[in-house]
Amino acid sequence: MREELHPAIEVVTVALDTGGAEAAVPWIDRAKTTHPALIDAAHLLDELLGIVNVPTGVWIDEQGMLVRPPEPAFPWRARPLPDELLAQLPAITVEQLREAGRMRIDPEAYVAALRDWVANGSRSRFALPPEQVIARSRPRSREASRAAACFELGQHLHRTGHPGDAVPWFREAHRLAPDNWTYKRQAWTLADPLQGATSEYDSDWLTDVRKIGAENYYPPVDL
């Protein structure tokens, strides 16, 4: 997508990874990125913009104004893996992929909207005025504020060599903000890279996705 639209637009990717460069760089290198590929080990963007899952896109115009708030951003639809490849994967990953296949995403519409904005700028119907950008960003309750503080403490303790002490703070963040998948997936991954059931947490990716229904995992994008 970047190759098609650049230089009319620049793509910037930001890895939200408590593991920092160690976690993100192998992926960045595998993708052979030519765009700015940044790493946000402190999950600063979550707090600044209200990001609660990935992938999430934000559009910024030439004046540095957001013209679309954080929203699910899929540049393409993943193709189903062939059976012979699925047979080599752990059972939990196969189950996760099955649920992921039921998620409601619309990459074609998202990319078409992006192309329209690139071509038409502020005249594009997909470029929102500031008041709509703000109104469409997530509401932030006291519980959400407290969850953010708890998550930050958890991250800080994990990064400074106290992973056991981080867990109660991650758990509290999950309790306070149960719809924040970034908090959950990040913490689950630190306990089990496959985000399966662990003794540290009462929940895991498959259980929680099935609880809400995979089709509700990403909110519909209101283009």
């Binding site: 590929a37 540095g64 504020s145 708890c150 403490l153 002490d165 985000q195």
Partner: protein, 108 residues
């Protein structure tokens, strides 16, 4: 924002929230909210709806973002400086003059 002291504002307060502590109180743009004197972070948190949590064992405090409104208080991109894959800081504002599609992703 992580801090070990309640008697002074965290270093990142202004950069992350836009609120700066001045003699007249906590100010963002033309709006100023009076603060107790001497400065007390829990007072600032209470007045701005920023939740404060404490980890007694490690002597740490964490201040959450403002509550009671939307995650974005302005459509202007806040100052964001993050390292790239080589550890070099990159400031998003350096892309002014160009449309940007920023995609947050994760390895997990």
């Amino acid at each position: 924002m992580i801090t070990q002291a309640l008697d002074r504002p965290p270093d990142e307060l202004e950069r992350q929230t836009g609120w700066a502590v001045k003699p007249q109180g906590a100010c963002r743009g033309a709006v100023c909210v009076p603060l107790a004197r001497p400065f007390d972070l829990s007072d600032l948190g209470r007045r701005l709806g920023m939740e404060l949590v404490h980890d007694e064992r490690h002597g740490l405090w964490a201040l959450g973002p403002e509550s009671g409104a939307r995650a974005l208080h302005s459509a202007e991109l806040p100052r964001i400086v993050l390292p790239d894959r080589n550890g070099e800081d990159f400031e998003l504002r350096s892309l002014r003059g160009t449309k940007v599609c920023m995609i947050a992703w994760a390895s997990w």
